[in-house]
Amino acid sequence: MIKKLLLFVLLAGAGVMFWTGISDYEVKQDLNPIASYYADQGLEETGAANLVTAVVVRYRGLDTLGEVVILFLTASILGFFLIKRDGKNDFRESSEILKTASRLLEPIIILAGVYVFVNGHLTPGGGFQGGAILASALILAYLANPNDSISKTLLKITESFSGLSFVIIGVLGIILAGGFLDSTLLPAGSIGNLISAGVIPIIYLFVGLKVGSELAGIVTNLKYAPKNESE
């Protein structure tokens, strides 16, 4: 009880702190200098109409690389901790309706995911969202055919290949163009076309494949984790 009271006092103090922060907060009228530079020059320098994409891939490309590395580490630690020791897990067979519907829906969902991350430089969307949609297509496959195993090596190969290509494109940018992940490696093209914005669509393709295979790997590891047999 005294612990809860103490915690309440602590949180109330934090709330008062935040409250003073809010009451001092002034509604902004202008962008700060960096953001206005991105908004002014982003289209010319990168050719991406979606400024968030320009920031994620070009200006903060190293952050994105670090983020992808963190995700890779998470997936590998997860796989390390959840090694399957016993035989195969038995799942209840799913119904015929779900199987047919999943066969009908999976291509549509995969197509939607690819659309989202290929069009990342023009419309809202990009590698992370498209990767999540791809992973959801794989989860639907798991739900429909729970006893079929999907090859983990395919996931691993996709993941490693796309990660390697991401780094290679970045290094090629240092050699051939202005810097790491510079998008002027390829000609910029006309703004608004699908093939434009230099290497940004290619980078987002690899980011999407990598994120999708990693999220699918996380779900696969959790699915085949050994069940609690004790008691």
């Binding site: 989202v116 809202p124 969202q129 999540a132 959801s136 050994p226 069940k227 609690n228």
Partner: protein, 84 residues
């Protein structure tokens, strides 16, 4: 005028988000708590849309309320015997 409508929607969304958060913390059944946490993410994605951030809204809707709920349920399925 339109911005007034946005403010009303934001207030309603905020109240519902906080109610769902309380449900997620205090409900006794774990499955209900997990679904409430997913609902918090889903309503937060509408809030991002009001804040002119469609990219973030897409990500939150796909990941926060889709994949993370599935992962929670897989984990819950593994430890089903210890519901206490």
């Amino acid at each position: 005028m339109e911005s007034n409508l946005n403010i009303i929607i934001a207030i309603v969304l905020g109240v519902i988000i906080l109610i769902f958060a309380a449900l997620a913390i205090y409900h006794k059944k774990l499955s209900v708590a997990i679904i409430a946490a997913g609902a918090v993410s889903l309503l937060a994605s509408i809030m991002y849309l009001l804040l002119a951030a469609p990219d973030v809204a897409m990500t939150e809707a796909a990941i926060g309320s889709g994949l993370s709920v599935i992962i929670f349920f897989y984990a819950l399925n593994k430890i089903r015997k210890h519901h206490d």
